[in-house]
Amino acid sequence: MIKSLILDAAYFLNTSKKYQSFKNFFYNILENDKCKYKRYIDIFMILLIFISVGVLIREVKHHVNDYLMFFSNYVISIIFFIEYMLRLWVNSSVSEIIVKRAEHDTFLLREVNLYKAFKEIAKVKLSYMASPKAIIDLLAILPFFHELRLLRIFILFRVFKLFRYAKSLQILSSVLATKKFEFFTLGIFAFVVIFISSVLIYVMEGNRADSPVDTLFEALYWAIVTISTVGYGDIVPVTSEGRFVSIIVIIAGIAVLAFTTSLFVSAFTEKLEEIKEIKTIENIAKLKKFYLICGYENVAREVARKLSKSGHNIIVLDEDTQRVENAKLDGYTTLNYNPGNKESYEKLNIDMKKQLKGVLCLRENDVDNVYAALTIRSLNKDVMILSLLNNDANRNKLEFVGINKIVYPQELVGLITKELVGKPVAFEVIHELRSEDSDVIIDEIGITKRIVENFPTVGDLNNKHYSIVLLGVYKHEKDRFYFNPLDSTLLEAGDYLLVIGYQVYIKEFEKYLHTRVHDD
């Protein structure tokens, strides 16, 4: 009876969408770095930790407000306890283990053995509870029993909880973890030296009346102070034998210190690139909108410069180390990832739909451009992809993979020459309008509902007053351009005005369009 109840409950929980999404929510805010709310939870927890420590320090010599004391001892402990229990809950799924066991036994035509399932649950949960982070969490709850004065010191364990919430501390521990074996060797070496030297000094000086070394603990204290090269000088050997031991410990101390420093330095040097990369990816995740440039060669370099000058964010991906270096030197956020590799985008961890303004495949090699575009298309169907075409014979391949805009430099040169030889002056004027360094530019102003309310027709715009040429109106819905429109032409929200004029005048004109209110 109980067994079937347990099984029913396990199946229910395992298949309940509501329960799973509820659990998933808690998992995300506690464990998932990608979850935006986790940041706030982390900051809140860090705040609680500092309040606890602050109260502990204040309490040493001053009276602490009773409410604050209550908050530190009970409220924070309860919050940490809830957090501990939630982590224990989301860490693994009890219902899933029971369901798996039930499925397994049913498949083998056996009676469902719940004992084994519970054993597995206990194993999984205990292994979590035995993890260093979970132990720290548990210890951080102990100040709850503050009547036991000694347990107050466990407040300091709350500081260790910072490792959970601060990413930089996690990176630090992960860096040091890479040198686990070396640190272990160093620890053994230091332990042996301390052990032998403390015993030796105790044997040499313990029975001398003029020696400050009276107990084995004092000998141990002296050994540690000496090996660390701190040398307080409060316990000094008086016998020649004792001083000889000192010499050995001092030399060993230098070795231990040098070894420790080199370990730290080498661990960080080896991991530096990785740390930088993690930081870069974190920064990219914070960007709202950016262009992704795949491949950093001549055209890409110029495009990046122009877009960046206009205030766009640029992220460069390239598999070539030298090109990555060039992009970094030019000041762009760059990752040494292969743009044609799906894994690169998984590592990049971005929301293509929300964050990407567009992808620019600008390698001077069609194969690489097609490969990168295909990879991106397989991940997102809608993102705008622009690609450079280097050989016209490959045009259909680029079209096939769904590239939205293809730019073929050779064709451009042809078109330009055609215009150049026909209307050189006119060409120069248009070229000037497009040039980034020119004072006179062509610009497009989007028509909003508010603008339409104030300026229903072209005649109302009064552009001549601002010394602006209105080249025409582009009706987005009809995909039609109305050149030099009549004053009576109606404006609609979503239209674009194409204007030519001095940049400052255009800005003024745009400001006027957006700020004017009805003056009936």
């Binding site: 020459t417 215009e419 351009f481 001095y502 005048y505």
Partner: protein, 239 residues
């Protein structure tokens, strides 16, 4: 004055695209290559040339005065050498040349090219325009490359023009509905945007060039109204 012969130096994709776009504008197209193999493979009749040429062959067969040269060699140094070589032999020849980057572009200008098309700059300009100003890019592209009926034209003011000796700002442009005047190029070859203060005060002289945009019919009407015609003169490009 209109040139009659186009001399294309180079046998590559750039050269093909240039030929494709300018072949209707010239009576004859002559393609020159450095590589003997191009003679057999090419779509066009290819003649061989040598960078150390004294250009006697070309001089004897082509009316250089009425020719325009396109230097489209892929090797930048060869292209520069070719430009210098042509310029040293033909002082008044119009030379249009391609450049891979800004540095080469500067060198080619020093070498005497009339006009340099920097490929990387131009391509990146187009890409940046497509992304930042898609609508204006689309419209300008169709105007420039004649994909629509809308055209850009340059009209030279001559002695018989009604506009001669008038102040730009005193002209009632509404009478010329259908066209927009973008810019005026003064006789001293300084181009001014039509709404700049300097241009507004400018008194139109014979020799000035107006850059206008409009539909073909309206441009023709404009030509008739002001009594001036469309005009192309390469001498407006100073070297």
């Amino acid at each position: 004055m209109t040139k009659t012969t186009a001399l294309i130096f180079g046998h590559n994709k750039y050269a093909y695209e240039i030929i494709k776009n300018v072949k209707d504008k010239y009576n004859s197209i002559k393609v020159y290559s450095l590589d003997d193999n191009d003679k057999k493979e090419g779509l066009y009749d290819v003649e061989l040339f040598d960078l150390s040429d004294e250009w006697e062959d070309i001089e004897n067969n082509v009316d250089i005065e009425n020719s325009i040269a396109f230097c489209a060699l892929e090797d930048p140094s060869e292209n520069i050498f070719l430009t210098i070589s042509l310029r040293s032999s033909f002082k008044n020849l119009t030379i249009i040349t391609i450049a891979s980057n800004k540095e080469n572009s500067d060198k080619l200008k020093m070498a005497g090219a009339t006009k340099v098309i920097p490929i990387v700059e131009t391509t990146s300009d187009i890409i940046a325009n497509v992304l930042e100003k898609p609508v204006s890019n689309k419209v300008l592209h169709s105007i420039l490359y004649e994909e629509s009926d809308l055209k850009i034209a340059q009209i030279k003011i001559d002695d018989t023009s009604h506009f001669k000796d008038e102040k730009l700002k005193s002209i009632d442009w509404t009478r010329y509905n259908g066209i927009l005047v973008l810019s005026v190029m003064h006789e001293d070859m300084q181009s001014e945007f039509i709404y700049s203060n300097k241009a507004k005060e400018h008194v139109i002289k014979s020799g000035d060039i107006l850059v206008i945009v409009g539909y073909e019919k309206d441009i023709q009407e404009f030509e008739n109204l002001i009594g001036s015609k469309r005009y192309v003169n390469w001498s407006h490009w100073s070297r």
